[in-house]
């Protein structure tokens, strides 16, 4: 009979050290229930690096008073203002989440505005907390890309003196684990000279995004299995199959 060698003793894991890890894992798999694919047409991709502090500052100063001083057209002001609103909404979502470290208690009064990047120490601390939050960073990065595209459109509009073209994200598809698929297209797409190409591109993007997202999830699941699951001993395999973690599967769009 083959006897397997005794396993190496692992050092005792401190429960406190695992808490943030488990919380982060929870969030990753909570987010796994929805895949949102957006297709955006831009004038140029400058490839600049994402510096969270700088992007936050740029978005913060898209306040109404700042925008009105720049004498932008109403459409452009609305577009920029919308970006800031989305950022504020994401901030408030975190403040309303009871399990989140930034939770703003119900009895603590109204939700505060976005912290000022040139504000006091409390604001600076709050910004550092925000920039350490994965969800907020994802939102910040996306809004940063939209702002870059808006800036390009603004330059074009100012040079050519033409009306600001509508829409930057021409198509968006949301796929949920329960099988719900929601497609959204801007009106500008229907009159775009390359409407067919953009739609085909978006269809391709949905398929590749689904595969890539599943690939990433599979890797994270294998990470969890590698951390918590013991390797089965060859001599002690039973006839019952070991239960394995369910694979997240998304419904393919038709």
């Amino acid at each position: 009979m083959n006897r397997s060698a005794p396993e190496a003793k692992s050092p005792q894991l401190q429960p406190a050290a695992m808490d943030p890890f488990i919380q982060a894992l929870n969030q990753v798999f909570l987010d796994a229930s929805t895949l949102e694919v957006s297709t955006m047409v831009v004038d140029a991709i400058d490839g600049q690096r994402f510096i969270p502090q700088e992007v936050y500052q740029d978005l913060y100063y898209l306040r109404e008073d700042t925008l009105s001083q720049q004498h932008y057209s109403p459409d452009l002001q609305a577009a920029y203002g919308n970006l800031r609103s989305q950022l504020a909404r994401q901030y408030h979502t975190l403040l309303r989440e009871p399990t989140h470290p930034l939770y703003h208690g119900e009895n603590s009064g109204p939700l505060p505005p976005l912290p000022n990047p040139t504000g006091d120490a409390q604001d600076q601390r709050q910004i550092q907390n925000l920039l350490g939050d994965r969800q907020f960073l994802c939102c910040l990065r996306k809004l940063g890309e939209l702002k870059i595209a808006l800036d390009q459109r603004k330059r074009q509009h100012q040079q050519a003196k033409q009306p600001l073209p509508e829409g930057i994200i021409y198509a968006k598809t949301i796929l949920q684990l329960d099988g719900t698929i929601a497609n959204t297209y801007t009106e500008a797409l229907m009159s775009h000279p390359h409407c067919t190409t953009i739609l085909q591109a978006h269809q391709h993007n949905i398929q590749t995004s689904e595969q890539q997202w599943q690939g990433l999830l599979r890797f994270f699941i294998s990470l969890i299995q590698g951390t918590f699951k013991r390797q089965p001993k060859p001599s002690s395999q039973t006839s019952k199959a070991r239960p394995s973690l369910p694979r997240a599967s998304l419904v393919k769009p038709q």
């Binding site: 229930s33 957006s38 996306k142 994200i169 953009i198 994270f220």
Partner: protein, 225 residues
């Protein structure tokens, strides 16, 4: 048959000074010209794959897992540069948001767009297959025979006078070497998974997570186990 991923796939890394973090990865860059595009499409259609260096895989895995030293990463960025112009960009957020950017000048050439999108998708797929830690052919258990040889060699040196007086004992040397080598190999194979599990936990949230240098060390060990 395989083809090297370099120079088509690069990591956009920034050297940081001062420590603790040595390099910061901002994203993945795909660099192609027209000839490269046609060559890679042919390779893809033949079912060939790309090979990546160990150093690249280490840095790529670290980029996917960690964001400025913290776990987990927020989003991954993939930029395709064709003939010196950035034409496609994909941002995969770990919140499930995927943003694809297409440069407007590419739209009048749908066939070129399709080729570039196909190659970008293939590149990302190849990168994702590099993520899981694989069982290496000459991994941890390859230490068994050098250890066995070293042990037997030291024993022979220490017992040299005895061996010279009793030549028949020399027969035992290869037998002991064989048994020791086989035993150590079995033992190290058994210990590989617990060691890997322990290392992974330390890298993600344990002692190695406190410092970038230790984390890099842990990731390197995980890669070579």
């Amino acid at each position: 048959m395989t083809v090297s991923a370099h120079p088509y796939i690069q990591l956009d890394q920034e050297q940081l000074t001062p420590p603790p973090q040595s390099t910061l990865c901002h994203g993945v860059l795909f660099v192609l010209d027209h000839d490269d595009l046609l060559q890679l499409l042919a390779l893809k259609n033949k079912g060939q794959t790309l090979t990546f260096t160990d150093e690249f895989n280490l840095a790529w895995r670290k980029y996917v897992l960690f964001r400025e030293g913290d776990w987990p990463q927020a989003s991954l960025s993939f930029l395709l540069r064709y003939e010196g112009i950035n034409v496609l960009k994909t941002q995969i957020g770990l919140d499930g948001g995927v943003l694809h950017q297409v440069v407007a000048d590419l739209l009048p050439s749908p066939s070129l767009y399709q080729q570039l999108a196909e190659i970008q998708g293939w590149f990302i797929g190849q990168l994702l297959t590099q993520l899981p830690w694989r069982q290496r052919k000459y991994g941890f258990s390859c230490l068994a025979w050098p250890l066995a040889i070293a042990f037997v060699l030291i024993s022979v040196i220490l017992g040299w006078s005895t061996l010279m007086m009793q030549p028949l004992l020399w027969i035992l040397v290869p037998i002991v070497l064989g048994l020791l080598g086989w035993g150590l190999q079995t033992l190290l194979r058994q210990w590989r998974y617990p060691l890997k599990r322990w290392l992974l936990s330390q890298v993600l949230y344990g002692r190695f997570a406190q410092c970038d240098r230790l984390r890099n060390w842990g990731l390197r060990w995980l890669h070579y186990l």
